[in-house]
């Protein structure tokens, strides 16, 4: 299936028109894009290409930058990992945000709230992108600032949980409930079972050695050996055939 980065099923026609015209640079459209990201936060959709356009407006007109909106875009980008969405958003933020500060930088630089938020979110992104899910949840729950940052995004935890489940489903056929519990931050066995059965349609198997979650076979987790055979096109013989004709003539 071909997916295009610049298209989004849930994007309204009005936004699409702005994006494909020169109005995407018009500072007056900033509010339109801002309303759009607020809407994305509420109805759990995500339109990376449109959000990048807003960040670009901020890049060109730094005085328009609204820190809460910018961090909301980053939080939304977290919910689609693994993907380059988060780093593409970071690329358009001002360089002084230093999302991944070295030790000397984090000590010396005078930081604003905005810079601190960006750095905190970048850290969360690294944890998700490097599949350290248990640490992700403990970091997220360690500081009230995180709770504030993700507060505007409806169902943030649920969205991340589903993404993690999708990634687990691609790699595992069976997984111990104890591990999945930590990865999904569902500490209560009942809640975990409810989630895997109702949301993921997986199976739970209780045995003497503990509970195992069974993931039905899908295209990604079957890991079948196969022999790729050569593709033969007629065009490949073009030269030989032409030669045949040339010599005959």
């Amino acid at each position: 299936m071909v997916v295009a980065f610049d298209s989004c099923e849930t994007r309204p026609a009005g936004i699409d028109a702005i994006l494909s015209g020169l109005d995407r640079y018009n500072p007056e459209t900033t509010t339109v894009f801002q309303d759009y990201i607020v809407q994305q936060c509420e109805d759990r959709t995500f339109d990376c290409y449109a959000n990048l356009a807003l960040l670009k407006l901020y890049q060109f007109n730094p005085h328009l930058l609204q820190p809460e909106i910018a961090t909301n875009i980053l939080v939304k980008a977290l919910t689609v990992f693994p993907s380059p969405a988060f780093s593409l958003c970071l690329s358009l933020l001002p360089a002084y945000t230093q999302p991944f500060p070295s030790e000397s930088e984090s000590q010396s630089a005078q930081t604003s709230d905005f810079v601190e938020s960006v750095q905190k979110l970048a850290h969360l992104s690294s944890l998700l992108e490097s599949a350290q899910y248990a640490q992700f949840w403990s970091t997220l729950n360690s500081d009230d600032l995180y709770a504030d940052l993700v507060a505007d995004v409806a169902g943030f935890e649920e969205l991340v949980r589903i993404r993690i489940a999708v990634e687990v489903g691609k790699a595992f056929r069976e997984i111990n409930a104890d591990i999945l519990e930590q990865w999904l931050d569902l500490r209560n066995r009942e809640a975990l079972e409810k989630f895997v059965i109702e949301v993921c349609s997986w199976e739970v198997e209780n045995s003497a050695n503990g509970t195992v979650i069974r993931v039905p076979t899908n295209k990604e987790n079957e890991a079948r050996s196969e022999v790729k055979s050569e593709r033969v096109d007629f065009d490949m013989f073009g030269r030989v055939i032409r030669r045949g004709f040339e010599q005959a003539a």
Partner: protein, 476 residues
């Protein structure tokens, strides 16, 4: 089979496009000769022009000429004014203007130099603000915040594109219709058409310099990336296009597509280099050439793949030892990734005036983008280790493997997940450069059943067509 063996097993991978390649080489040779003919022609035509046209001629020539390396700020301001008045004249006169351009390459040179000056101005301004040492220059820059402003630069490029209706023309060509029917009053003239066309390439570059990689690729929607494209007629344009497209792909983590772009142009350069020697753009091309090899080395390390034979041997020659270190991965490779990235990335810019009163806040945009890229490198640093071990087994206990690697089982689970995720990539199929489909980019796959890793390998079947064709050619 090791990576090397796989590469060497198919020495004539590039052969299919030989005919096309040959045609291009000839085409390029013609161009080089053609240029001489053109300059001859120029000398005979523009006689008897009024003094006003001579001024204009001087302006046209200046617009395509690089500034001196040590140009003062005043010169840079003046050069900006020169561009403004020139583009104003071209875009806002009554109807299209009739210009004798100094050379065939003029349109490309103007756009190229225009963007280069924008880039170096922004970088210079940021440097002045960061160092905070030259108060006089800082004051001058503070007073002229709109000189080389991003809005005016984009305005020029977009206006040239719209005036020439070049996107409509290109879309018509794609459909197989006559572009002239869509060209309009301006776009039917070569001057506007060429300026419009190269402005698209210019936009690709500007967006990339600003860190907007998806929009960079989006601007090329109407251009088909093949050897018949118009940019292929001007070597520097051809080269620039592939560099920025490849780089944008790389930053979108589409390493397979990036490698395809870099390989394409590097093969082309290696086949035409004999005609370029002595040309004035030769040095610039040689430098970019090395940069692209560095980028290919990075991409191949992050995404092992079979390279074209020419590219592979050149890469071994230039970066042999470094490539080995990159491909081995692990923390030792980190500084090398960073070094190569810095040496080969575009000179990123911050488009708005910096904060002159607060020097440390003006971080170099190159540092910014390097840090973002390096985060992804760090996250995937153990993929080569995982791959090299799993290749040896069909089933393996996770705890046992963790013991071999001397890491916690939990850590190993993360590495396995990451390697699995990164081996799925979006690859371009057709139409717009941003589109593509997800493919498995690795011949090694696995799945976990609790702590038991089942490994499977996709093997390439025997390739008989090559062998058959080669022997057929010999006998026949």
């Amino acid at each position: 089979m090791s990576y090397d063996e796989r590469v060497n097993a198919h020495p004539n991978l590039g052969d299919e496009s030989d005919v096309e390649e040959e045609a291009l080489v000839n085409d390029y040779r013609e161009q080089v000769n053609f240029e001489d003919g053109m300059s001859e022609l120029d000398r005979t035509t523009s006689l008897g022009g009024a003094s006003q046209t001579q001024d204009l001629q001087a302006q046209l020539a200046a617009a395509a000429t690089p500034l001196e390396y040590q140009a003062t700020l005043e010169t840079k301001f003046a050069s900006y004014d020169n561009y403004c008045s020139l583009f104003h004249y071209i875009l806002n006169s009554d109807g299209p203007v009739d210009l004798e351009v100094p050379s065939y390459y003029w349109a490309w040179d103007v756009i190229d130099e225009f963007i280069y000056q924008f880039e170096s101005f922004c970088r210079y301004r940021n440097r002045v603000a960061r160092s905070g040492s030259n108060e006089e220059e800082a004051q001058l820059l503070r007073e002229n915040p709109n000189t080389w402003g991003c809005y005016s630069v984009l305005n020029v490029l977009y206006s040239l594109i719209q005036k020439s209706q070049i996107n409509e023309q290109l879309a018509a060509m794609k459909r197989g219709e006559d572009p002239l029917a869509f060209a309009g009053e301006y776009g039917s003239r070569p001057l506007y058409k060429m300026l419009g066309y190269f402005s698209i390439i210019g936009l690709l570059r500007v967006h990339c310099l600003l860190g907007d990689f998806s929009l960079a690729l989006k601007t090329l929607d109407d251009i088909e990336m093949n050897k018949k494209a118009m940019f292929a007629r001007v070597m520097a344009a051809h080269f620039t296009t592939y560099y920025y497209v490849g780089f944008s792909y790389m930053m979108m983590r589409r390493y397979g597509d990036a490698i395809r772009m870099f390989s394409h142009i590097l093969v082309y350069v290696s086949r035409t280099k004999n005609f370029q020697k002595g040309g004035n753009s030769y040095d610039a091309i040689a430098k970019k050439n090395d940069q692209m090899y560095a980028l290919i080395a990075i991409c191949v390390a992050l995404h092992p793949t079979r390279l074209d034979d020419t590219i592979h041997s050149a890469l071994r020659e230039k970066y042999g030892e470094q490539l080995n270190r990159l491909q081995r991965g692990g923390p030792d490779a980190l500084p090398l990734f960073e070094e190569l990235f810095r040496s080969a990335c575009p000179k990123f810019i911050n488009p708005t005036p910096p904060d002159f009163d607060n020097p440390p806040i003006n971080v170099d945009p190159v540092d910014h983008h390097t840090a973002i890229f390096m985060d992804e490198v760090k996250n995937t640093l153990y993929n080569p280790t995982i791959r090299s071990y799993l290749k040896l087994y069909t089933t393996m206990d996770l705890k046992k493997l963790a013991g071999f690697l001397e890491v916690e089982p939990e850590k190993l689970r993360s590495w396995l997940l990451i390697n699995k995720q990164r081996s799925r990539q979006i690859r371009w199929v057709e139409n717009g450069l941003l589109g593509g489909e997800t493919v498995s980019a690795n011949d090694l796959d696995y799945a976990l059943e609790k702590d038991l890793i089942h490994v499977s390998e996709t093997k390439a079947g025997r390739r008989l067509v090559d062998w058959y064709l080669r022997n057929l050619a010999r006998v026949y």
